[in-house]
Amino acid sequence: MDIVVLVKQVPNTTEVRIDPKTGNLIREGVESIINPEDRHALEAALQIRDNTGGKVTVLSMGPPQAIDGICEALAMGADRGILLSDRIFAGADTWATSTTLGRAIRKIEQFDLVLAGRQAVDGDTAQIGPQVAEYLGIPQLTYVQKLEVREGAVIAERALEDGCEHIEAPTPVLVTVLSSLNEPRYPTVAGLIDSTRPRAPIEIWNGADLGVKAYEVGLAGSLTQVVKTFTPKGARNTQYLEGSPAAVAAQLIDALRKKEIRLGE
């Protein structure tokens, strides 16, 4: 089974701080990591390949330094890495990103399964997977916590708010996964050396390679524009209730009712 895994380089959010003056993220000195859920997608792909054969291609879009994530994926065991990097891709929203990734997957041609993390920790949109599936015109299975592969089909267990559902879908299919799916393996030292060698199986594709026009991708191809980012001011209005426990309880219930907060049946 040939598998394409979508991987995003994201800032290590546990290290990100906010400049109290400007409200902007302080990115200086913050390392980039593979988006945590994408690692689980990669692990799933590697396990499937190890069991059934085939090839795992890691696909990422980002600035040249995003190649680090691809190297790490190769060191974990991926067979091929492709980085989509071009100035015209910059500033893309999820629509433009999905378009670009979709074009790249079409160019790869041979694939049975596209795997991705549910969402990235920096944007939290969870839109890329579904939009890429739409672009490619293939079925999509999201929020997958168990995955099984059969001849020409996959069977997935999707996590829902109130339970889970089992779905079978024919390949080619796109699956976005949750971190409960598996435990990602670590890169090996030998793998890290191989992945940073000049002969490492990494390709960098630009806009011309994909045959896209500048207005289709990047900021120009985006349907949404960011107007402003800011940290919401959390103004708290603390009210102290005093008296006997019964009196405090009564006051509390009144206060909640006043705010039209339902207290249940």
């Binding site: 546990t14 290290e15 400049d19 302080i26 200086e28 000195g29 390392e31 680090d68 190297c71 790490e72 060191a75 670590y186 890169p187 090996t188 030292v189 030998a190 890290l192 050396i193 992945s195 940073t196 060698r197």
Partner: protein, 619 residues
């Protein structure tokens, strides 16, 4: 949140800005590598250390090892960590490629091992000793021995140990009695008992290969009659593993590293223990000494690692723990309470821990770097120069690092107050685990004698002179920078004190008073270590000061206020400022004591040896 095992920024500063290890990649030996590879390996090491090895640390401490029917079980959590460690190829990091390893420079290995040891020192004993034993076989083994043992040990499939100590033969290894009798087929029958064997038995691997020092029948007494044998726990017969009559009789109950099995091993109780000679008969000590530098550096790394983890934990605690108001508002009961890092005495302790930890790190990595420069040298002269540095610095790396590293862990408890004394926080474990470093692999007293009795004497003091010359070059360079004046002066003074004491030792050693250098070998090593670490920190300060000035200039920060603003908002600037401060603090609190320390040594005070034994106390 950065990891709590080591300051990654400082690690990278030493590797790339101070030692500039990328230059090593220009040599053919390391041409495969690049900064990119180094970075990726370090990042991967951090992840493995933090996520997989660190969680086994407290568990191992609490559970320890279990000895049942002559077999030792390690804590269950170690099995998964060991598997990941071996599968990842971490034991092979600095093993040469022609032996199946990755061939990374030693200096990078130092950084990785620091991380893993900080995560769990007891755990690292198992792969650490295996590599040490495998290296011996690599260097002295026959082709059959390489194939049979070394490959399996490097991959972690089999483990290894070093069996030197016996009840009557500890520091006095020449007194050992384990016997080897030659069999007609060229193998030897081994009998005897060894104690304090780290990783002596366990269930991480199906076989353990012991490197055993023993005396062949009829060999001369003392160290000259010692041979070294490969004695596997299970020997291979007709392609199958059979029991080789090696029994674990006991495991020690220890202060620290509870999960490292410290075993008493009995060889040949049933007269069925076979050993295979490594190298030639009576060459055991020479062979073992070959591995001394590496093993002692490894213990130095352990001292560093525990200090590093202790400092990071203490720092975090000091930033989080709120207690009392700031000192100038002490009498105002309504003043807001502050984290204890605001209190001067806590700051002083943290500063002490910071500069000592950073100094040890630089010194240890530098030793690793010297090893790499020997391998990458373009001429024999260059190789000899770095070999000389390494030889004289090894006892200091081992002792200063373990002694001062221990004190860092002790201060970490102090910073934590009562909580630090409790098991709820990991710092008390750091201290207990760290203590062994000043004892094993040659006690620090032995290291001091090695420095004074052996290393100073090499080629009429040539090693000492070369290292003093090296410090002179730095001094010259640093003296040009007026901003470093406060650091340079105590350093220059400490340097002359060390030279003076060394001369004094030289004179004493050729007179009847030769006991003085022996008696004061340890204080001398401390003085030497102060200077060596001061050298590293001054070197770093020269670089950091330059970088900091560049950042100030770029930000057009020409007033104290603007500089303070840069330090608040620019993490690199804050880091470099911290580096300069480490050197300054060290100069003024350690190096400024050199004069007193030198005077104490040169007082020739002999009470300790002259006093009759009976006068120490009445029993």
């Amino acid at each position: 949140m950065a990891n709590l095992l080591c300051d990654e920024r400082d690690v990278k500063f030493v590797l790339y800005e101070q030692l500039n290890i990328e230059e090593l990649c220009e040599s053919e030996k390391y041409s495969e590598f690049s900064r990119e590879t180094f970075d990726m390996v370090l990042d991967a090491a951090v992840k493995l250390a933090e996520k997989e090895i660190w969680p086994t640390n407290a568990d191992g401490d609490q559970k320890g090892v279990i000895l049942e029917q002559g077999a030792v079980k390690v804590p269950e959590s170690f099995h998964n960590a060991y598997r990941l460690y071996c599968e990842g190829g971490w034991s092979l990091l600095a093993v040469p490629p022609d032996m199946g390893g990755q061939g990374f420079p030693s200096v990078l290995n130092c950084a990785a091992v620091e991380l893993f040891s900080a995560a769990n020192q007891a755990f690292m004993m198992y792969p650490g000793l295996t590599i040490g034993a495998a290296r011996l076989i690599e260097k002295y083994g026959t082709e059959d021995q390489l194939r049979e043992y070394m490959d399996r040990m490097y991959s972690g499939e089999w483990a290894g140990t070093m069996c030197l100590t016996e009840p009557q033969a500890g520091s006095d290894v020449g007194a050992l009695r384990t016997k080897a009798v030659k069999n007609p087929d060229g193998t030897y029958k081994i009998s005897g008992g060894k104690i304090f064997i780290s990783a002596g038995d366990h269930d991480l691997t199906e076989n353990i290969v012991h490197m055993v020092l023993a005396r062949v029948e009829g060999a001369p007494p003392g160290t000259r009659g010692i041979s070294i044998f490969i004695v596997p726990k299970k020997r291979v017969e007709n392609g199958e593993l059979v029991d080789n009559d090696v029994i674990c009789a006991a495991t020690e109950k220890k202060l620290g590293i509870h999960a490292s099995a410290t075993c008493a091993l009995n060889f040949g109780e049933k007269d069925n223990c076979i050993g295979y000679l490594l190298g030639a008969e009576n060459e055991g000590m020479r062979i073992m000494f070959n591995m001394m530098n590496e093993a002692r550096l490894a213990v130095g790394i352990q001292g560093l690692a525990q200090a590093s983890a202790a400092y990071m934990h203490a720092l975090r605690y000091a930033k989080e723990r709120v207690q009392g108001p700031e000192i100038h508002a002490l009498k105002d009961p309504t003043a807001p309470k502050v984290p204890i890092i605001y209190h001067p005495d806590v700051r002083r302790m943290l500063m002490w821990m910071k500069c000592v930890t950073e100094g040890i790190r630089a010194l240890i990595y530098y030793a690793g770097y010297c090893e790499d420069r020997i391998h990458a040298a373009k001429s024999e002269e260059e190789a000899a120069k770095y070999q000389g540095f390494l030889d004289i610095l090894i006892p200091i790396c081992k002792s200063w690092s373990s002694d001062m590293g221990f004190r860092v862990t002790e201060l970490a408890i102090q910073v934590h107050g009562g909580y630090g004394y409790c098991r709820e926080y990991p710092v008390e474990q750091f201290m207990r685990d760290s203590k062994i470093c000043s004892i094993y692999e040659g006690t620090n007293g032995i290291q001091a004698l090695d420095l004074v009795g052996r290393k100073l004497a090499v080629k009429q003091g040539a090693l000492f002179k070369s290292i003093v010359a090296e410090t002179g070059n730095l001094l010259k360079n640093a003296s040009k920078n007026y901003r470093l004046k406060d650091i340079v002066e105590p350093f220059a003074q400490a340097r002359s004190q060390l030279v003076e004491v060394t001369r004094y030792f030289g004179l004493k050693s050729i007179t009847e008073d030769f006991m003085i250098p022996v008696l004061y070998a340890s204080p001398y090593l401390e003085l030497f270590g102060d200077l060596a670490v001061g050298f590293m920190l001054l070197w770093q300060a020269v670089i950091a000061d330059r970088r900091l000035e560049e950042i100030y200039n770029d930000a057009k920060a020409d007033t104290p206020e603007k500089k303070a603003e840069v330090l608040r908002t620019n993490r690199s600037a804050a880091f470099y400022r911290g580096k300069v401060a480490s050197a300054q603090f060290f100069s003024n609190t350690f190096l400024s004591l050199s004069k007193g320390k030198a005077r104490a040594i040169m007082s020739g005070e002999r009470s300790a040896i002259d006093l009759p034994e009976e006068s120490f106390a009445l029993f």
